[in-house]
C-alpha cells in the first residue's frame, strides 16, 4: 500500500459550515452496489437543477477542473456515515481535504481511502480560499508528514489526527491486513468476552 507523504495539486474551494454528507451525495445516488460511478455525483443537487441544467458551483467551474486539493470550512462531512461521500470526492479527483474541522466518521472514512484531512485555523483557511479563488492555476503542496500547506510564498501549518497521519505516512491506512495480522490476539479477546460466548450458554 502506498505511503502518502506529499501531495501536489490545484485547489478547489467549497465554502460553508456544516456541509453534510447528504449534500455531498444525495441518498438517491447510494442505490448502487459498487462505488465505480460515484465520481459523477459530488454535490449533485447543488450543481444541477431539476432538469439537469448546470448551476453555479465550484465543481462545475472550468477554472477548477482537474483540481485535487479541496478547501472547506467547519464540520465538513457531518451527518451520515456513507463512505459514498469521500468516494464521490475521490473519484471526482480529490486527493486531500483541508478545512477548519471535520466530522469524525467522515474523516475516518477519508483516512481509510488514503485521503488526508488537514485542519487549519479559520483565518488561514480563508487565506487559502482567497488565494485559490484568485489564482486557481497555482499549485498547492500538502505535506502530510510535516503538517504543512504551501502555496506561492505562503506556508501554513496545519494539524492532523496523529494516528491518521501515521497510517497515511506509513502506508497502513488500508487497515484490513494490519488488523488480521493479530489473529491470535483477536481470538483471545473473543474467548474472554462473556457475551461473545453467550455467557457460557452453549447455544
Amino acid at each position: 500500500m502506498s505511503k502518502i507523504i506529499q501531495l501536489k495539486g490545484r485547489g478547489i474551494v467549497v465554502r460553508g459550515n456544516d456541509l453534510d454528507t447528504d449534500r455531498i451525495i444525495p441518498a438517491r445516488y447510494l442505490k448502487e452496489v459498487a462505488f465505480g460511478n460515484m465520481g459523477q455525483y459530488p454535490f449533485y443537487d447543488e450543481r444541477f437543477g431539476a432538469d439537469g441544467e448546470k448551476k453555479k458551483h465550484p465543481f462545475n467551474d472550468e477554472r477548477f477542473s482537474g483540481a485535487s486539493i479541496l478547501l472547506v470550512n467547519k464540520n465538513f462531512g457531518c451527518g451520515s456515515s456513507r463512505e459514498h461521500a469521500p468516494q464521490a470526492l475521490m473519484r471526482w479527483g480529490i486527493k486531500a481535504i483541508v478545512g477548519e474541522s471535520f466530522a469524525q466518521i467522515f474523516a475516518g472514512n477519508c483516512t481509510m481511502l488514503g485521503i488526508p484531512t488537514l485542519v487549519a485555523s479559520p483565518d488561514e483557511i480563508n487565506l487559502l480560499m482567497e488565494l485559490v479563488e484568485e489564482h486557481p492555476n497555482h499549485l498547492l503542496e500538502v505535506d502530510v508528514q510535516k503538517n504543512m500547506i504551501t502555496v506561492d510564498k505562503h506556508e501554513i501549518t496545519a494539524t492532523m489526527n496523529a494516528s491518521a497521519q501515521n497510517a497515511l505516512t506509513e502506508g497502513t491506512w488500508d487497515s484490513a491486513s494490519l488488523l488480521l495480522s493479530a489473529k491470535d490476539k483477536i481470538k483471545e479477546v473473543a474467548t474472554q468476552l462473556p457475551y461473545f460466548n453467550n455467557f457460557g450458554d452453549g447455544q
Binding site: 467547519k74 469521500p86 466518521i105 488488523l179
Partner: protein, 467 residues
Amino acid sequence: MTKQTLFDKVWDMHTVRTLPTGQTQLFIGLHLIHEVTSPQAFQMLAERGLGVLYPNHTLATVDHIVPTAFQHRPFSDMLAETMMRELEKNVKKAGIRFLDLSSGKQGIVHIIGPELGLTQPGMIIACGDSHTSTHGAFGCIAFGIGTSQVRDVLATQCLAVTRPKVRKIVVKGKLHKGVYAKDVILRIIQQLGVYGGIGYAYEYAGPVVETMTMEERMTMCNMSIEGGATVGYINPDQTTFAYMKGREFAPTGEAWDKALTFWKFIASDTDARYDDIIEIDGKQLEPMVTWGINPGQAIGISQKIPTISSFKADDQKTASLTLQHMQFKEGESVLGKKIDVAFIGSCTNSRISDLREAARIVRGKKVASHVKAIVVPGSQAVKKAAEAEGLDAVFKAAGFEWREAGCSMCLGMNSDKLVGNQLCASSSNRNFIGRQGSPTGRTLLMSPAMVAVCAIEGRVADVRAHV
C-alpha cells in the same frame, strides 16, 4: 477497579492491542449490516480473497431501500431490487443471519437489534450507519462506520479506531407534560452545537434520563451523532434489565444471572472521571422544533427564529443560506407555519411508545385536508404490536397512511419523498437540505406527538394544548 466510566471499562475489555499508528485495534462484539453500505464491502473482501471471520456475530436486515407501500418482488424500483439481491447473495455465501421481509422480524436495523435482545449492555456494536449510536441506550459503545470499515469488521471482527474523550451530560429535574426525549436531545444538540461532540462519547445521565423508558433512551442516544458525537450511551440499570428479560436473543437461566453480574459491573463508577461534565435543567425545556438545515438549528416552540446578527460572524452566511432554503424570516415564529406533509417514523421515533402517544393525540380527529400524513412503523414487530392494539385503525380513521416497516421518508431512498419545496413535520433525525428526497424540500424535526398535532392542525402547533 474504581473511577472508571462505562466507556473505559467496555473499551479496555475490547482492546486487542495498540496499533503502530497509535490507534486501538478494537474488537467488535456485534456487527449489523444492511443493503446500502455493505455490498461494496463484500466486493472488497472478494477482491482480496478474504472471508468473514465470525459470521455468527453479524446480522443483516434490509431497511433503507424497501418500499413501504407495495413490497412485492421484484420491487418496481430495479435499483432497489438489485441491492436486495446483492445482499441476499452475500449473506447466503457468508452464512450471515438475514432478517428479510418474509421473516416477520425485519425492520430498521436500530429498531430490531434492541427488540430482539441482540443489543446487550457492555457490547461494542458497529454498523454502516451513523445512527448506530442508538444502541448506546443499553450501555453499549455503538457507532457508525464507513464501508471500508464494514470490510474490516467482516474480515477481522475489529476496527482501527481512535479513542474519544467522554463527556457526561446530566439532565436534571423533571420534564413537563408534552416534552419528550426528542426535545431533550434536540435541546442538547442546539446548546452544544452540531460539532460540539466531535472527539467525544456522550454519557447521558441525571434524573430525567434515569426515569426514561428504554425506548426514550434510544431516541436520546440515536441523535448523538447529530451533535457530532459518534457514541452516546446510558448506564444500564433495572429499566435496562427489565427490558432485556425474555427477548429472543437475551440470555436465559444461568447465563442470565452471569449476564446480570456483567451488566452491573460495566456501569460507570460513581466516582468515575470525565473529560467534561455538562448540566441541563429538564424543567426549563419546552417542545422543540427545528427551523433550519441542521438539527442544531432548533428552538423551543414558543421562541422565535434567531436573527442573523445573533450568530457568530462565521456562522452568519450559513444562517442566511438556511433561511433562504427554508423560506423563513429571521425573528419570526415557526408556530402556525402551514405544513404539507407529516411523517411519523425513522430509527429515532418509530417504536411502539411513539406510535401510542401519537395515536392518543389523533384518536377521533382528522388530518387537515391539505396534509399528506404517513406512519411508518420501525419494524414488522412494531407494526404487528400496533395493529394488535388497534393503533392502525386510529391512524387510518384520522387520515394517516399506515405503511410497512423501513427507513422511508427519513432519507428518501424509496418512493416516500417530499415533492418540490413541501414543508414536512417529521419525527426523523435530519433536516439537511434534500434529506427527505426533494432538493428543495423542507424539514421540521420534532417529537412524534408534535407531528401528530401538526398533522391535525395542518400547521405547526404546540403539543402541550393536547396532552
